[in-house]
Structures are given as structure tokens and as C-alpha cells.
Amino acid sequence: MSLKVTDVVVRRGVGPVISGVSLEVHQGSITTIVGPNGAGKTSLLESLSGIIPIASGGLEIDGQEISTLSRRQRSLLGLKHVEQGRMIFPSLTVRENLTLTARSKADFDEAMSLFPELEKRIDSPTVLLSGGEQQMVVLARTFAARPRYIMIDEMSLGLAPVVFLRLVPVIQGIAQSGVGVLLVEQFAHLALRAATDALVVTSGKVSYHGPAQELLADEALLRNAYLGQ
């Protein structure tokens, strides 16, 4: 049971921004993608969820080819994409954000239990929440949808490190519940510490693919991978 990406090429404008990227995310594991700004990490996630088309290559979810499906169809098959920039629905309250995706009260309650601090703001419009609380809503809302795989793009963007540290254990908990997590993150060390597998993407190509701990332990390897060497 995995999310399998094979030789994916993504084009924006005239040229490719992702060239021949392959990876596999197993249910219950966290795979982290790190890399310098402009490497193509966000484009890769957007192509996997269907926001932009995949030019060539394969995308399978538990053995089913989904690269030609719409973004909604991919979502209904259990592939959820948490976009960067805390994409809350501003006019919806916390409760309504979760109601949108939860199929049952049990799903709603389980998602809320990830972030008990949201309880006191449950009927507040999400536009009034702090950045950290908004990110919690986005994660809880996605988890309430019972995903099989979650792709999370730059969760830490615009957040204080202490807030990010609060979110990392939640991501690990989500993975332990059987969800495959693909995490794109700028805080490389923190993200790698939480992950089992890691990819370093530079200039649209994979310069490292292997155990996250190995990359974390070898500073030279990480630096060289970032430089594309």
C-alpha cells in the first residue's frame, strides 16, 4: 500500500521544473522532501494532487494509476494536499471547516482531539485565528477526511518555530495512525528528524534519496545534496 511516483516530469511555461522524479510513500511512514527555494518541491506536490498537470511519468495510489484523474477524484481516493500558505476557508468557523470534510461525528471528534486548544475557538471564524491555530485547523480538517496519504507543503511557513514544534508530533501521530505523509519543509533538520525517508530536490531533480536519519547524521552529505552534487 503506497503512493508511487515514477519518473514524473512537470512543465511550467517553456521548460521542465521537475525532471524524472521517482519516490514511494508507504502508509504509516513520513517521507520528507527538502531542498533550496525554487527547486520545484511545491510544483511536484501540485502535480501529484492535480493542480498542475504531469507532463509524463506515472502516479499510483495503492496500485491504481491516477495521473489522468481530476484533483477531486484523486482526493476522493484518499490523496489529500495541504497547500502552503494556510488555505483556510475564512468565512467558515472551526466547526464548519471540520464539518466540511468529516464523514461522521467520530471523524470530527478524532480530528478535534489532535488540537484540544481549538476547542475554545470552535465557533470562531477561522480568519480571526492566529497563524498557528489556522494551520491546526487546516491539518485537523484534512485528517477529518480520513486520508490515506497526506502531502503537506511548507507547514512552517510564516509560523514561529515553537508552533512548528507543536505540529510535528501531530504529524507523527497521523502517520502512526496508518496515513502516508509526504512532507515538504524548509526547516530541514526538524523535518528529517520526524521522517523515515528523505529526498533532496535541487533544480527539479533528485540529488538524494534514502533514509532520513542517514542524511541528518551526515552534514556534508546534506550540504552536497543541497548543492546538487
Binding site: R71, K80, M87, F89, L92, L100, A145
Partner: protein
Amino acid sequence: MNIIIALAVGFSSGALYALIGVGLTLMSVLTRVINFSLVAVGVFGAYLSIRTSPLIAGASLDVQTVITVVVAVLVAALISGILGWIEATWLSEATTTARSAVTVASLLMLISLSFILFGSQPQPLRPLLIGPAFLIGDVAVTKVGVAMLVAALVVGILTWIVVNRTPLGIRLRAVSDRQTAAELLGVNVKGLQVGVWMVVGGVMGLCASIIGNTAAADATSMITLVIPGTAAALVGAFKNIPLTIVGGLVVGALQGALTAFPSTTQLRDWIPILVIVLFLLWNQRKEVWDVAR
């Protein structure tokens, strides 16, 4: 007395503008489009429904009327749904300006089709509501005016209930806030948007059936009602339904007031344009010169 009569006349028109404005506001909020073809769709539905007359000639007059109205509503909803499907399929990521520009093309297409199919003469629509609803002194308030105002209020209230009190409303608001994010969560964005187009189109089909025999019911006269409707929607900033209804009534009242004096009657058609220009100027009052340029 003349001015009171004129205001009563203005009330009927204003209630119609309010209903059209409410439809425009709904579409703007829920589907990110200023639908200039809104009234044209309703008129087209009403005109096509007349073609069913030979098929139902044996039925009683009441049954014929009901069937004609139902056909008008269904045809308008269908045409509107097709236009909505086109927008949701090929223009889902386009800006509001681009999406709205496409409705101008739809409007022109419907106008030309209307000329081809029905000519330039008013069509014999069945009278649904005739005469005054009540009198204020010597002044008659027409049934059509009351029906339009009631329809605008009912549509506004029902919309508020659906949007704020139902799971469907949560989906609609999510799509209105962030379409792509909603789609990534599995919300059926296209289905919801087409649904909104169909419902509003159906309401316009009903509206055209009611007003079709009351005034100069040629296609162009009715279709251009979208201009005062837009003025009403602008008063509510394409967001606020109660203000839109008030805006429609005010535009109608101003037009009515002008008809009280022979020297100003000709200016009544300027009122919606004046309201639109004033609103746009007011809306840009805080713009920095270089930014607004």
C-alpha cells in the same frame, strides 16, 4: 399626488430590479461571475415556452399556463446550467473579469438567437398576474410589483438559510472562499457551481414569465433590465442581499419620481447608469492615484 403615483409605478420596476440584483449577487458570491446573460436566459426560457402552446391546446387555460411557466423555468435553468458548466469546466481558474466577459458573449449569442427564432416583436406570453394588488389611496400597487418584491425577499431569505444553516451552505461558502482548496478536499465544485447557475436561471425564467406580458415585452427591452439590476447589485456591493433589494427599490423609486414631471421623464433610463457611475466613484475614493491608474 403625481409623485406618489410615480413612486408606486417605480415600486413595481424597483422590485423587479431588486430580484435581478439578488440573482446577480448570488452568482457573484457563489460562482465568482457577474452574469450579464442572467435576464437573457430567463427571457429565452419564457419565449421558448410559448412554443409548447400547440402541444397543450386541449388542456384548460390554467393547466396551459402552469405548463408554460414550468417549461420556461426548466428551459432557463437548462440554458443557464449549460453556461455554468462551460464556465466551471474551462474557466475554473480564470479571473472574475474573464468569467464575466464570457457571459457578455453568452448575452450577445442569446440576443441574436432570440432575433432569429422570435423576431423583434413582443411575444404573446400568458398573463399570470394582472391588475392591482392593493390601493394606497388612489394609487394602485400592481400584483407584478408585489410578486417581484416577494420573490426577491424569498430568494434572499432562502439563500441565507441554505448558506448559513445547512451542510450544502458550508460547501458553497468553502467554494466561494477558496475553490482549489475545496476541490483538493473532495468538494464537488463543478456540481455546486452548475447547480447555482441552474437555480438562478430558473428563477429568472419565472421572473420573465411573470413580467413578459406586462410591459414592452420584446426581448431587447427585457434583456436590458440587467442594467438596472446591476445597479441594484452594486448598491449591495455584489455581496449584501438586503442592500441589493433596497438598491433596486431606490433605483425604481428614482425612475418613478422622474416620470412625475414631463420634462424629466426621458431621463429615467439614466438613473441606473448614474447609480453605477456613482458607486464606482465611491468605491474608488480611497485608491491611490498610481494604483488606480
